[in-house]
């Protein structure tokens, strides 16, 4: 397994912050392209007038998921190195409800 490139040593961790910047630029670019720079477009999801949040989010999930499975199958990406957050159902559900209500109140 050669990836993740930084934990396998294929890429020096010295460049870690440079890639953090580049990955952030890519993420921000596509978020804005999708219209998520607009609070009204974001909250339209919750009035069922524009389902972009749903479409973008789940397309992104499926794309990354298929990529991870494929790269793991061909022996390139070690999924054991990827970040898994432990399951704490109660705080995650309560935190999600609070964040969700803040989402539509603040338009974030």
């Amino acid at each position: 397994m050669t990836a993740p490139l930084m934990s396998s040593g294929a890429l020096s961790p010295d460049y870690s912050l440079l890639f953090a910047l580049l990955i952030g630029i890519g993420f921000g670019f596509f978020l804005e392209r999708a219209g998520f720079g607009s609070a009204r477009k974001l909250v339209a999801q919750f009035y069922l007038t524009d389902l972009s949040v749903f479409k973008v989010m789940f397309t992104a999930l499926v794309t990354a998921m298929v990529g991870v499975i494929f790269l793991n199958r061909i022996g390139f990406l070690d999924v054991g190195e990827l970040p898994l957050i432990g399951t704490y159902l109660l705080p995650m559900v309560v935190g999600g409800l609070i964040l969700g209500s803040g989402f539509v109140i603040g338009g974030y």
Partner: protein
């Protein structure tokens, strides 16, 4: 990329159309996959704010920060926020968002709101919403980036429970703030 965007077509001032949501989703998915492959980590946002808060608390009240495991978790990662992976990534998000908006001629100074609410009320609600979002994100160990997108793509059980709760919370609250947006 939208047909109407790009520097070459800047003659008219009309903002460019948004990208097809499925294409934008594929774009975000590929960025996330690149993050997994290169750095072995996903995208995030709320952690960057927690990192800055920890840094500032440590600056003004080092004794308090030293006794607090929450602040210590972030302080032990990097000596200052500019060396923190997530903080730098969020700076990148701002740059990327600005570039996209600039090329699509969407950069404008405005307060987005519905026609039935004042700017002032909208800003107060934005602040209240921001407090709830950041509190909820710390409670749940992540936000829509770190939990829903990163954890969701890895089929993390907690991340999916979180994501469903975010939608439930937002749909449940939407009716009560409809005058803010409509």
């Amino acid at each position: 990329m939208s047909r109407e965007s790009g520097i070459g077509s800047a003659a008219e001032a009309r903002p460019g159309a948004y990208m097809n949501p499925y294409l934008a989703g594929i774009g975000i998915g590929l960025v996330l996959l690149a993050a997994f492959v290169i750095a072995g980590r996903g995208v995030g946002a709320s952690g960057a704010f927690a990192s800055v808060v920890s840094f500032v608390v440590n600056l003004v009240a080092p004794g308090h920060a030293a006794d607090n495991p929450f602040y210590q978790k972030y302080l032990s990662r990097a000596s200052n926020p500019f060396k923190d992976w997530l903080f730098v990534e969020v700076i990148g998000v701002m740059i990327g968002g600005f570039l996209s908006g600039y090329f699509a001629r969407r950069v404008a100074k405005t307060i987005e709101r519905g026609p039935n609410i004042t700017d002032q009320k909208r800003l107060v609600l934005a602040f209240v919403g921001g407090v709830l979002v950041s509190f909820g994100a710390q409670f749940a160990r992540g936000c829509t980036s770190g939990q829903s997108i990163t954890g969701g793509a890895l089929l993390n059980l907690g991340s999916w429970a979180f994501t469903m709760s975010v939608f439930a919370g937002a749909y449940g609250t939407a009716y009560f703030v409809r005058r803010e947006w409509k």
